[in-house]
Structures are given as structure tokens and as C-alpha cells.
């Protein structure tokens, strides 16, 4: 009792110190909720990222597939909002990064060693995939990512409205602009190409006879025909014939279904909902040619599964991707056809997809095969943003298209230099 009472380490200060440490405790537990449910007794855990699909039942489906996997507990993060890229990219740098995630093929993910090559699991079934889906995921002979669904995007239109106005299906971009004008009434706008108008970017460039990049990975989108097409866009934008600031964006069928517009740019995924609401009063056509001698264009988007090469359980993640997206054909078919319509990248599944064999879905498949073009893996996120800004500047803001394209050139060249030297 004598010595301790005179020391600085008396009972009170020890208690105080302990209290201080306890106060620090909550700090340590910050960020503890990783969405991972820990190891536990039932084996290891995996985390997968999906963007929020708009079709009813999709989230439940993905979780149902994951639950059926018995070698690991798979947790699904369903990312809502329109900035899936941002959330995915920033989480990939952290310890809470997903083990598997869906995305589009982009070279910078491969150059930075972020995604693992999947040749070992894809090898045996490579020939069953649509060759274009393999090409668009291949860098230096290695395949990164397993395609889950192909999503062609084109125009949907209300047959009755076009007939009533005496407007035929537009064959050129100028005809599209003219049709938009003639279809616009005080109740219905002629055309909806999205609130930001960036979703038709690739189709616009392709229909003008150009491309994003050429074979040598140099800029190929900066042509006179593209600049002229941008001027047509600007004219449509200022004329008041476009539906703008709609409550739901282009990927949602509601603008066409609710009668806000006569023609809408959308994807094959929305076809079941549109057919249900409009019946036979629905037609489709590709992005019309925007330069003489150029072909119409359809953008074959889609989603693929990637394995995070910097994750903690790369082998297990690969196993899971192989199990679900290569072995389980039932689930792949369910995913492609039961919610929205998507074209199965596996030819064996596509061949047996009766839903896509007749009527409007068959027409969609025809546009996909006749005019569809796929992602270019060398065209990365920074370049996508640069081309988005061309639309913002040249179409919405009214900058001269040449100048807007020059601004984009600087950004794209900076990116190309970093990727290819």
C-alpha cells in the first residue's frame, strides 16, 4: 500500500489510461463491416460485385445462384446508382475489394495486373463462345473475363405513332432528325437518346464510318463525318424534338411505354417489358447510317465476369466463376432469358433459346449479328469519359464539334501514351 500510492502508476491513472484505450476501441472497429462474413466453419467467403440491373427478379436470381455454390460462402454486393465504375474502381484498391466482379473489358485493368487471366478455366469451352466475345477479352493471347450476356442496343419505336404521322423507318441520320421533328407534338417528343445522350456514342461514330481506334491503336473517331453527325445531333438538341431530363434514363423502357416519346434508344434487355405493355405496337431499327457509304450500327454491349488478381482467394474465385458461368448452363440460360432479354454468348445456349427464335426478339438477334459491333478492349474508361465530354460540349453546350474533338484528342492521346508508350 505504501509504495504504489506514491507512484504515478496508481490505481486511478491506470484506470484512466484503460478508459483512454477503450475510447480508442471504436476507431479500430471502423470499417469493420466489409460485407464479408468471415471464415467461419462452413469454409471461405467470396464477395462479388454487380451493378443494379433494372429488371425485376435479377438480384434474387444472382443471390440464388451464389447460394447454390457449396465450396464457399458468396456474398453479393448489389451496387445501385449510376456510378458503378467509380464504386468498383475505388473498392478494388482496398482490402474490401470484391473477389469477382462484373464489368466490361478494359485494357488498363489488365495492364495494372488487376484482373486474372482465365484461360485455364475457359480453355475447354472457348469454342462454344461467340468468337467476338473471346476476341474482345483477349490481350496478347490471354483471355481475361468470362462473358455472361451480350446486350445489343438499338432504336425501339411505336409503329402506330410513326404510321399516323406518315413517317417511315429512318434510313439515315438526317432522316432520323427529320422524323423526330415530324413526330413531335405537344404531348409526345419525337426521339429519346438518353438524358445525357452519351449512350449512342459508339453507334454514332460507327454509323459515320469511323471507329474509336484503328488497328495501330491510334485515334480513328476524329473525322469530318463524325463532326457532321455531331452537328445533326446539335440541331436535334436545340430544335426541341428530343425528350430531355426524363425521370428515367435510356436504359429504362418507361419513356416509350408511358408515351413520352415515339422513338427510344434502348437495349434488348427491355424488350419483354415493352412487348408486354405495347404488344405489337413496337418495332426496332439500327442506328441509321450517318455518312454516305457507311453501314447502320448496333452496339453490342454486355457484361462479363472478372476475377480480382489481387484478391485473397484468387483460385477459389476462379473456381466459382468456372462453376457458375461455365459449368452451370441452366443458370446461364436463366440469367440471359428469364428477366430481360440478353443474347447468350454461349452458342450452345443461344441455339436452344426458343424465346429469341421468332418475332421481335429474332429481329433483335438479326440486328446483333448483321450490324452489331463489340467493345474494343483498348478503349478504356478515360477515353470513354473523353468521348462523353465531346457530346456534352459539341451537342449540349454548342462548342464547335472540331474543337470539342480536339479537346478529346488531347485526353485520349495522353491515355494511349500511358497504355502503349
Amino acid at each position: 500500500m505504501s509504495a504504489p500510492s506514491s507512484s504515478t502508476w496508481d490505481r486511478r491513472s491506470v484506470l484512466r489510461a484503460a478508459a483512454g484505450l477503450a475510447a480508442l476501441g471504436p476507431l479500430a472497429s471502423c470499417g469493420g463491416n466489409t460485407g464479408r462474413e468471415g471464415g467461419g466453419s462452413s469454409g471461405k467467403g467470396l464477395v462479388q460485385y454487380f451493378h443494379a440491373y433494372g429488371e425485376a427478379g435479377t438480384q434474387e436470381a444472382i443471390k440464388r445462384y451464389a447460394k447454390a455454390y457449396d465450396k464457399a460462402r458468396v456474398t453479393t454486393q448489389w451496387i445501385t446508382g449510376n456510378n458503378f465504375e467509380s464504386k468498383l474502381f475505388s473498392s478494388l484498391l482496398t482490402d474490401n475489394a470484391p473477389d469477382v466482379f462484373e464489368f466490361h473489358p478494359q485494357l488498363q485493368l489488365i495492364k495494372s495486373g488487376q484482373v486474372a487471366p482465365l484461360d485455364d478455366i475457359l480453355g475447354p469451352v472457348k469454342d462454344d463462345f461467340n468468337p467476338a466475345d473471346i476476341t474482345s477479352h483477349t490481350v496478347d493471347g490471354k483471355v481475361y473475363g468470362v462473358r455472361m450476356i451480350d446486350d445489343p442496343q438499338f432504336f425501339f419505336y411505336r409503329k402506330s405513332i410513326l404510321e399516323k404521322a406518315g413517317v417511315g423507318v429512318p434510313q439515315t441520320l438526317d432522316e432520323l432528325a427529320e422524323a423526330a421533328g415530324r413526330l413531335t407534338t405537344d404531348k409526345v417528343k419525337g426521339l429519346f437518346i438518353g438524358n445525357n445522350m452519351v449512350s449512342t456514342n459508339y453507334a454514332l461514330v460507327w454509323a459515320a464510318g469511323a471507329d474509336q481506334l484503328d488497328d495501330k491503336n491510334e485515334i480513328a473517331y476524329h473525322t469530318d463525318d463524325v463532326a457532321a453527325a455531331l452537328k445533326v445531333y446539335r440541331k436535334m438538341f436545340t430544335s426541341g424534338h428530343l425528350l430531355l431530363d426524363a425521370p428515367a434514363d435510356y436504359w429504362d423502357p418507361s419513356a416509350l411505354v408511358q408515351g413520352l416519346t415515339a422513338i427510344q434508344w434502348c437495349g434488348m434487355w427491355a424488350m419483354p417489358v415493352m412487348q408486354k405493355a405495347l404488344g405489337d405496337d413496337l418495332g426496332i431499327f439500327p442506328f441509321p447510317a450517318a455518312a454516305s457509304g457507311a453501314e447502320p450500327a448496333v452496339y453490342n454491349g454486355g457484361w462479363s465476369m472478372f476475377v480480382n488478381a489481387k484478391g485473397k482467394n484468387v483460385d477459389l474465385a476462379k473456381e466459382y466463376v468456372k462453376w457458375l458461368w461455365i459449368d452451370q448452363k441452366k443458370y446461364q440460360e436463366d440469367w440471359a432469358l428469364s428477366y430481360g432479354f440478353h443474347i447468350p454468348p454461349r452458342q450452345s445456349i443461344a441455339a436452344s433459346a426458343t424465346e429469341l427464335k421468332s418475332g421481335l426478339p429474332a429481329e433483335g438477334v438479326k440486328l446483333f449479328t448483321d450490324y452489331g459491333r463489340f467493345d474494343n478492349i483498348s478503349w478504356t474508361q478515360a477515353m470513354i469519359t473523353a468521348l462523353d465530354e465531346v457530346i456534352a460540349n459539341a451537342v449540349r453546350k454548342g462548342t464547335d464539334p472540331e474543337k470539342a474533338l480536339d479537346t478529346a484528342d488531347a485526353k485520349v492521346n495522353r491515355e494511349l501514351k500511358k497504355l502503349f508508350g
Binding site: 491513472s13 476507431l27 465504375e85 453546350k397
Partner: protein, 320 residues
């Protein structure tokens, strides 16, 4: 064995007792100081100073898709941020935004406070009603503004109202000419924050001694503008200064409404939004983003020093 016991043998006991007591008190108050401030300081160092230092480090490297870069590139990131026009443009955007939102909110919240202050009935009710929007989140409010009030379709609230007067549908957010998007951005922030500053003004108004008004009335000041101009406004000077500074800080921190209302645009991006897109968003260029953050930090330091000189805030009571 503790040190105090050894000392007791070497020194005279009577003098030692108070000294040891004081020493112990000094030492234990030092300990208390560290116990109380330690966690906070540790948090400050870990969550503020290390990130700032790391950011400064990153700004000299090519850090794309990584925060542990290895390629030193000198001042290239700074050159990019200062010459590309996007970042410097964002500073202009912020200046325009602050120049609109600060005086407008100041005037509106003062006006509301004056009106509520004069109420005889239902004062508490109106005080609450005007204050309530403060509890709403910026994201939720932005979405309401975007999708129902300023929607571009014919059944959007503003377009419906304007339609009664024969005005054509306006795309409030899509079309930057004329820049209607400022109307959307300013009104949503005004609705959200005016009530809070109204409460500050209301408190200040209640603190003005009534004798001042009586004296002014006796001296012949007319009620209304003259009294307001010469009695109320000078009495609110301290509150007004505080409100303006708070508004400036809030305007600088504005992010949610710009991010949610304006997508895929090249305009209407204040610095924080611009840096978000550069570093954390789709571009993932942490080097360039950090360079922008460092430039921004230097600018804020300069502005803080300047405002200290002109407004005298933070100098202590003798400054005023």
C-alpha cells in the same frame, strides 16, 4: 520501489512534501492532457495529416489505379491540372456559385428571421417549419428537384406551372444555354439551408436589447427601414460575419447536388466534384487528383490568412 522514496532520504522532509505533491500534480495533469487529447490527436494524425502528406507524395508520381506508385514524374501532374482547363474552370464555377448562394441565403434567412421574429402567434410553428428542411439530405432533395420539380417532361412541376402561361417545356438540366441548371442548384441548397441560418439570426435578433429601439424611436428614427438599417443590422454584425463564413465553407463543401443533378457534363463542377472525377471516380488518376488537392489546400490557406486580415475573425476580441 518508487523514486519518491529514495528522494525522501536525501532531502529534508518538511520542504519536500509540498514539492513532491506539486510535481505529482504536474505530472498527472500532463498525463491527463495526453489522455484527453491523445485519441483526438491520434485521429487527427492518422485521418488528416498522414493523408495530406500521402497526397502530397502522390502528386509527384504517376499514380493511376494505385496509391502506392513507383514512377516519379516531378511536376507533370501539376502542369496537367493547371493547363487542362477543367480544374481552373472548376475554381471559376465555385466562385460563381459562392457569389450567388452566399448573399442570397444570407438575405433570405435574415428575411425569414425578421418575419418570424415579429409574429405574435404560431411563432414556434413557423420556426420549426422553416427549420425542418435542414434535416433532409442533399441527395434526397436533389433527386426530388431533378425528377419531380425540375423534370424536363411535360408533367414536371415547373413545366406544368409554366405551361399554364403558355411557356414551352424547358430542359432545366440538360441544356446549359441558358444556364437554368444554376436555378435548380441554387434553389435546392436555399431550401435546405436557409432555415438553419434563420435560427442563428433569430437568436441574434432576440438578443438585441429593446431599449435600443426605444431610444431610437425617441430620437425620431422611423420604424421600418431606418431602424433596421441603423439599429438591427449593426447589432447583427457579429452573427452576419459568422453566417457568411459558414455559408462560404458550406458552399466550398458543396458536392451532393452537383454530383446528382449534373451528369456527364463539362460545366457546373466545383473543385471537389472535379477532383472526385479525376481521382476517385472513373479516371482513377490519384496523382493528378492529389496535385489538384494540394493546389486547393494552398489556395484555402491563402484565403484563410486573407480573411483573417480583413474580417478579423480568429484574432480575439480586441480585433473588433
Amino acid at each position: 520501489m518508487s523514486t519518491t522514496t529514495t528522494r525522501d532520504t536525501t532531502r529534508p522532509a518538511p520542504a519536500e512534501v509540498p514539492r513532491a505533491g506539486r510535481r505529482r500534480r504536474v505530472r498527472s495533469s500532463t498525463l491527463n492532457f495526453w489522455i484527453f487529447t491523445g485519441p483526438f490527436l491520434a485521429g487527427l494524425v492518422i485521418f488528416v495529416y498522414i493523408p495530406i502528406g500521402w497526397s502530397a507524395y502522390l502528386s509527384f508520381f504517376e499514380a493511376r489505379y494505385t496509391v502506392t506508385p513507383d514512377k516519379f514524374i516531378g511536376f507533370d501532374n501539376y502542369e496537367l491540372m493547371l493547363t487542362s482547363g477543367d480544374f481552373t474552370g472548376s475554381l471559376v464555377t465555385f466562385t460563381v456559385f459562392a457569389a450567388i448562394i452566399v448573399p442570397v441565403t444570407w438575405a433570405l434567412s435574415l428575411g425569414l428571421a425578421l418575419m418570424v421574429h415579429r409574429l405574435r402567434f404560431l411563432k414556434a410553428f413557423f420556426r420549426s417549419v422553416f427549420f425542418l428542411p435542414t434535416a433532409c439530405s442533399f441527395v434526397a432533395a436533389s433527386l426530388i428537384w431533378k425528377m419531380s420539380i425540375f423534370s424536363g417532361v411535360r408533367f414536371g412541376l415547373m413545366n406544368t406551372v409554366l405551361g399554364w402561361f403558355g411557356v414551352e417545356n424547358t430542359a432545366w438540366l440538360a441544356d446549359p444555354n441558358p444556364p437554368w441548371y444554376w436555378l435548380v442548384i441554387v434553389t435546392v441548397r436555399l431550401w435546405l439551408q436557409a432555415g438553419f441560418y434563420m435560427i442563428l439570426f433569430l437568436a441574434a435578433l432576440q438578443n438585441i436589447p429593446p431599449v435600443l429601439y426605444e431610444a431610437a424611436a425617441i430620437d425620431g428614427a422611423r420604424p421600418g427601414w431606418q431602424t433596421f438599417r441603423h439599429i438591427t443590422l449593426p447589432q447583427l454584425r457579429a452573427t452576419s460575419t459568422a453566417v457568411i463564413l459558414l455559408l462560404l465553407v458550406a458552399a466550398y463543401q458543396a458536392f451532393d447536388e452537383f454530383f446528382n443533378l449534373l451528369a456527364k457534363s463539362t460545366w457546373g463542377r466545383p473543385p471537389l466534384v472535379e477532383l472526385y472525377y479525376t481521382a476517385l471516380g472513373e479516371d482513377q488518376d490519384y496523382g493528378a487528383g492529389s496535385a489538384g488537392a494540394v493546389i486547393l489546400t494552398l489556395l484555402i490557406c491563402m484565403v484563410t490568412l486573407l480573411q483573417g486580415r480583413f474580417l478579423g475573425f480568429g484574432k480575439g476580441d480586441d480585433a473588433r
